[in-house]
Amino acid sequence: MTDIFLNERYIGTTESAKDLIKQVRAERRKGVLPAELNFHHDQEYDEMFFDTTRGRARRPLIVVENGKSKLTEQHIQELKNGTIKWEKLVKDGVIEYIDAAEEENCYTSLSEEELTKEHTHLEISPLAMLGLCSSLVPFSNFCASSKLIRGSKMLKQSIGIYAANFLLRMDTDVNVLHYPQKPLTKTFMDEIFESDKHPAGQNIVIALMSYEGYNMEDAIVINKGSVERGFARSSFFKPFNAEELRYQGGLVDEVCIPDKEVKGFRTEKDYRLLEEDGIVYTGAKVKDEDVIIGKVSPPRFLGEFEEFNIATNVKRESSISLTRGEYGIVDMTLLTENEEGNRLVQLRLRQPRILEVGDKFASRHGQKGVVSLLVPPQDMPFSASGIVPDLIFSPHSIPSRMTISHLIEIVAGKTGALKGEYIDGTTFDSVSEKEIRKMLKEEGFRDNGTETFYSGITGKQYHAKIYVGNMYYLKLKHMVANKLHARATGKIQLLTRQPIEGRSQGGGLRLGEMEKDCFVAHGASMLLKERFDSDKTLLYVCEECGMIAVYDSYKHKEYCTKCGSNVKVSLIEVAYAFKLLIDELKSLCIYPKLLLGRKY
């Protein structure tokens, strides 16, 4: 006796589970029962589950009956002609959607040739095992799986055109690539995904060689000529907004050019770019601490204060400005209202980003690298036919990572560029290496993809033949301009008097525990002390009781609060954090007595 559950709810029992399954399956295929229904028989506990709920991951499989696929040549022909549609196949029971639970009761074959009588389903294509991003990697069946994962992860970070209406949108911190291209080596997914509508990279000429040691450890060398021709240029968009908030007592914020009377007025120069309405004009080049939206707010505290103060109506300055180090062009302004009906000013800043040393690039095969050098075109190596690569990639990045697909894409891209056609790099179903070699040879090139190269500096021919070809390269969203950071002095934390953390606030870079150990291991004792001097303070210490004493700046005299002024009080230099430690010990009822001695 088998218990039956429908949508997790007990509905009854059956004596003949097998017949029931047969019947339900047949009726679903006929269309009597909905195609959304999935069922599964747990033989261990003898329970059957029927499920029609939403939220299950389901995938289509070809139905197999008596070891024969129900999808016939005729179906395929009709699909090609467009006389029938996918939906019809589902309706006719040629294709079934199977959920994770039902899969447990299925015996699925990967290929039609391997079908036996026991099989219940046939995979439409082995490609179904790959996700969207991994399907976009060409020749990925020639790539180590770990690198394929990295490659598809980096595809997500590549910059291209994320939405066709990006000029009308107010997205936070987005990048848009100028002159994006379709990949020369495509996969089936590029068609389905319509990647030509939102491309994410550019086809460039890449040479596998070393260049003056500048491409060690995954660094990449780039032709400056290519940069000047517009390779990997992008725009970075950043929105700003100001809201006219309403306060108690009918007071409102006001977007305007602030008066000189306003509390916290900056300098005249900071407001120079504002138009009459208090908003900077579109197309203005702004930088550093320029005000982009002028705004004044009512005073913070109202009340009794008013009676005494004449200047009660002095307003506060609350303009929106750029932080130090920021720059850009005002791209668009938008005046609107928000949900609460407050006037809202939105403004979009555009930063042109020209490729620079430190930007991150990657191919689609998990081969990432950082630009280490921009070489003037005349110093770049060139081929016998005069081709100058856009990018020089280190050959050391290949062997240990086994990204053969990277190498294949280079030759495939090369043949594609020479023949003027797209090359199919679909996983398991790509143009074979043999064909690529044949095509290359037909075009008059060496079939292994190498070419004679000459040094751009000396003009001499290299002994080795250089592997060169075209490849789809991605600019990733990690750019130095967003990460560059340095600090000499700046803001400190209130409690510890140590520098604050974080680039956005101009914080310091922490010299941590292990870095400290390195200084000690080098014996650089004085340097270490200097590093940790960020919170040094002078403390008066009573030599009698060993506690912190007080300095009276009126009388120019120091005294101990416990022992009075007739004791010896000395000045010591310690970290402020140590003073805090002493205070904390005191709060634990521990008496931390400082015994002073001579330094030398």
Binding site: V520, G523, M526, K536, V574, A575, A577, F578, L595, R598
Partner: protein, 375 residues
Amino acid sequence: MTLPKHLHDKVEKYSKKYKITDKEKAETARRVEEKYEKAKISPGEAIGIITAESFGEPSTQLTLDVFHFAGVSEMQVTVGLPRLIEIFDARKRPSTPRMELKLKAKYSKTTDMVREIAMKIKETKLGDVAQEITINVAKANIEIVLDKKKLRELDIKPKAVFDKIVTEMKSLEVKGGDESIIIKPKEKDLLLSEIYKLKEKAKQIHVRGLEGVTHVLPVKDENGYTILCAGSNLEQALELEEVEKETIMTNDIFEVSKIFGIEGAREAIIREATKVLKDQGISIDVRHIMLLVDVMTMTGNIKGITRTGITGEKESVIARATFETPIKHLINASLIGERDDLNSVVENVILNQPVPLGTGLPGLIAKTADMEKDE
């Protein structure tokens, strides 16, 4: 001449061997001395931290492949970082104790002979040779039926088993013959649960072999047979006739310490640590390991690098508080009025003073005018 004796002797020996002139000999000695002086560690070198870094950096790579030990032998041995931690924490027992016993040549002529010895070494308990152990509720006794086949296989006489039970269970009456043995408590009116406990205890009676050795595996190499044991019992292994006593190896450091003393333990720790690192393909200069082990063993007892071991015995209160359980250390220090002379690194980093190492070590010995006035 400041050369140590063994170096001096070596210079003498080689100069005689290669028949060099006195002048050349003097030059050789000078150069050896120069090298020797150079090899000395200068005062103020932070050897402890260099040792820590030498261990710390490669052990970050170690963690990745710890649990992927695909052993050919049936014995699972803790390797990698867990084992290293175990060694330096000075755990009382290794998680996988192991012993290697090399057999003497005359006892390893045939495989049968070796297997026999191996079975002798493996610990056999009463539970292993008994077919069944039952409690007779009515008579309030325990009946043990011996497994004859097993006994024959292991070459144990029923009499021997009987004698063992007699010696182990002195408070009990033991009766019986070759096939079954009856144990009866001398005291009457024992509760059933107590008899049950007795039964469990009887199962654990040690019949033969080395206590604690749960598995044995004879391995043949070019020099004869070695028996690998899971479980270690150095004391009893040393009494075995068939084993070459000089070559017994165990990974139980405390056992080595108990039998051979602290110097033996020191060698054992060095050997174990080196083995772990070598297996992982990491090369650390043995002097780093030696320094660490010297610190662990210098008191005569093995002390781990834990808050109860050597770290907890640091002189400085602040240094101890920095490591683990700060409040405990601070409160205990305040109870006895401890004094911290700020002689090591952490204290001085906390106070932002130069650390007494490297450039921070040397001081000035001079009296200034006002110092003299003070006195």
